[in-house]
Symmetry: C2
Subunit: 336 residues, 2 copies
């Protein structure tokens, strides 16, 4: 039972699966009364727990990509807000949320500098073969076999090149894409982007489709949200358009790329390289990639820094406080 | 024997060791008469070859860090210019060059964007454990053991941090250091530097010694020239001043850091991590580093991109042409 003092705090239902917990739960509990089915004593099913509290729940805190289906939503007639701890919200039935006017916030803002840092790191890593070079040294091959083969260069700016710099195409110019563009401009890269609509305030060339963007790019960085429309937005045609020297970086979601085709093109040498933080069937990674030196494989850790979790706590707290004091939410997902 | 046509071309003596060759030799030969002892038929010692041509040699093209000693210089009484294909010129007896007013050009300009790219790549790699994560995935540990441990974050900018961003100290703010600073500013890092003298046109705080810089930095990036003064400029005191969470990146020369102390501090956990492209006894790398996950080891490939060699060819050609037409050299090393 909650104490009288706890009873006074605003009520927030926590939705998570046992694997997913959050380190700042304790601090949130100082400001909100968290109802977490997984903490219930004696143990109770999520369904029964939620049904019992249904009428009073106006806010749901969704930890990591724990699915929020239409069925779950139907148990919560008073729900007004879902606060997600993830950048992507493809695990939430947004159509039902829109229908019922349930607001959804994501945590992209807290994550975007971190994700952008990793995207740039993966890109340099692939182009300059940093991880492969590290393997070469650790295996003792430098002393034995001599110089490591040349990498690519990020900046092309001399008389033998007709390009200003490597052309980087960003698929999805949201907060993450914007942070990536800001960083890569300082390397002398030429930026282009694809998004549903042209963004009036953005100076970079816009391409209507991922295919058009790929034709005009040396590198594709994939960082859009995963929706039914964007699933496999980078398909075989797009990758072939990018060309043999092309490099793909994915810090969005695995299913944004047709992974089977990606693997085949890489194995056949029809793509220059890839830096992948996400995969279609995580944590399973296609084993064909394990032997490729032009590929960098990262275990979905674009947002895995301690400071990132502090920023996440801040953003979640700010959204919850805003809701309970009827102020504007910090990071609302736009339905369209 | 040279043909009559070749005889008319300006004479350039090539100084290299057998391992070091340059891919654009053929193109240079269209514009200059290259004398290369290693090409002589029948084989002839470098000493005897140089002695034979000594009087007519005004220009020496030094390929990679092939040593140029006082003794070698004494064989070339007419020498006026040494064109180096490397960024560092610690292999040249600069004191003797100054005494005899022999100009020396280096190739830092051609290399600096490439070196800066790799420095940033190594930094992100260490902070975000990219290479270590790649090893983790390739070893099949992600699927078996679950999430990879957290990395650091590059940008610190939230209420729980009192720093604006990670403080990056650059040891040696020449053309490479400047390119690094430009890139890291876009990540939100706060830059400081150490160099012999404060640079009036640079907005970043200057620190008189590497020690003072280390005290005020989270990260040290070492990219100054190696001279007798800068040998072991990053000594144990400097590394201890950087602190337990500190990260060191070296894209300069191995001997800028006291490697023995560096290894010991890393092994003992007294340093946060290191990204090293250069080592004191290349290609030998201290084996104690092979098992550390907070270290990224790169086989001296900061300048190893194909485009980089094009830029190098351009710069070398420009320096040679300038000399033979009495115009200003492109990248003169300043003696001081």
């Amino acid at each position: 039972m909650a104490t009288a003092q706890e009873e006074e705090l605003p009520l927030v239902l926590v939705h998570r699966i046992p694997n997913f917990d959050f380190p700042f739960k304790h601090r949130l509990q100082a400001q909100f009364r968290l109802l977490d089915p997984l903490d219930s004593v004696p143990p109770e099913s999520t369904h029964s727990f939620i049904s019992r509290h249904a009428a009073s729940v106006r806010v749901l805190l969704c930890v990591d990509p724990t699915p929020i289906s239409r069925d779950l939503l139907s148990l919560l007639p008073s729900l007004q807000l879902i606060v997600c701890s993830s950048a992507g919200v493809d695990h939430v039935d947004l159509i039902e949320c829109r229908r019922r006017s349930i607001a959804v916030t994501n945590a992209g803002k807290a994550f975007s500098p971190d994700v952008a840092d990793l995207a740039v790191g993966l890109l340099i890593d692939v182009l300059r073969r940093v991880s492969a070079g590290d393997r070469y040294v650790r295996a003792g091959l430098w002393a034995r076999n001599g110089e490591y083969p040349l990498g690519f260069k990020i900046l092309l700016k001399h008389q033998f090149s007709n390009a200003f710099g490597k052309r980087v195409g960003i698929v999805g110019l949201g907060s993450i894409g914007g942070e990536i563009a800001k960083r890569l401009e300082s390397f002398g890269c030429a930026i282009g982007y694809n998004s549903r609509r042209k963004k009036p305030s953005v100076p970079f060339p816009w391409y209507k489709t991922a295919y058009d963007l790929a034709i005009n790019s040396d590198i594709l960085i994939v960082c859009c949200a995963l929706t039914e429309e964007t699933r496999h937005i980078v398909n075989k045609d797009v990758m072939v358009a990018l060309g043999k020297g092309g490099v793909i970086i994915n810090v969005g979601r695995g299913a944004l790329i047709d992974e089977k085709e990606l693997v085949q093109l890489l194995v056949q040498g029809e793509l220059g390289g890839a830096g992948l933080d996400v995969f279609e069937n995580e944590p399973d990674v296609p084993e064909e990639l394990f032997s490729l030196n032009n590929v960098v494989l990262s275990p979905h850790c674009a947002v895995a820094t301690p400071e990132c979790f502090d920023a996440l706590e801040e953003l979640i707290t700010a959204n919850l406080k805003a809701f309970f004091s009827s102020k504007p939410l910090q990071s609302v997902v736009e339905f369209d």
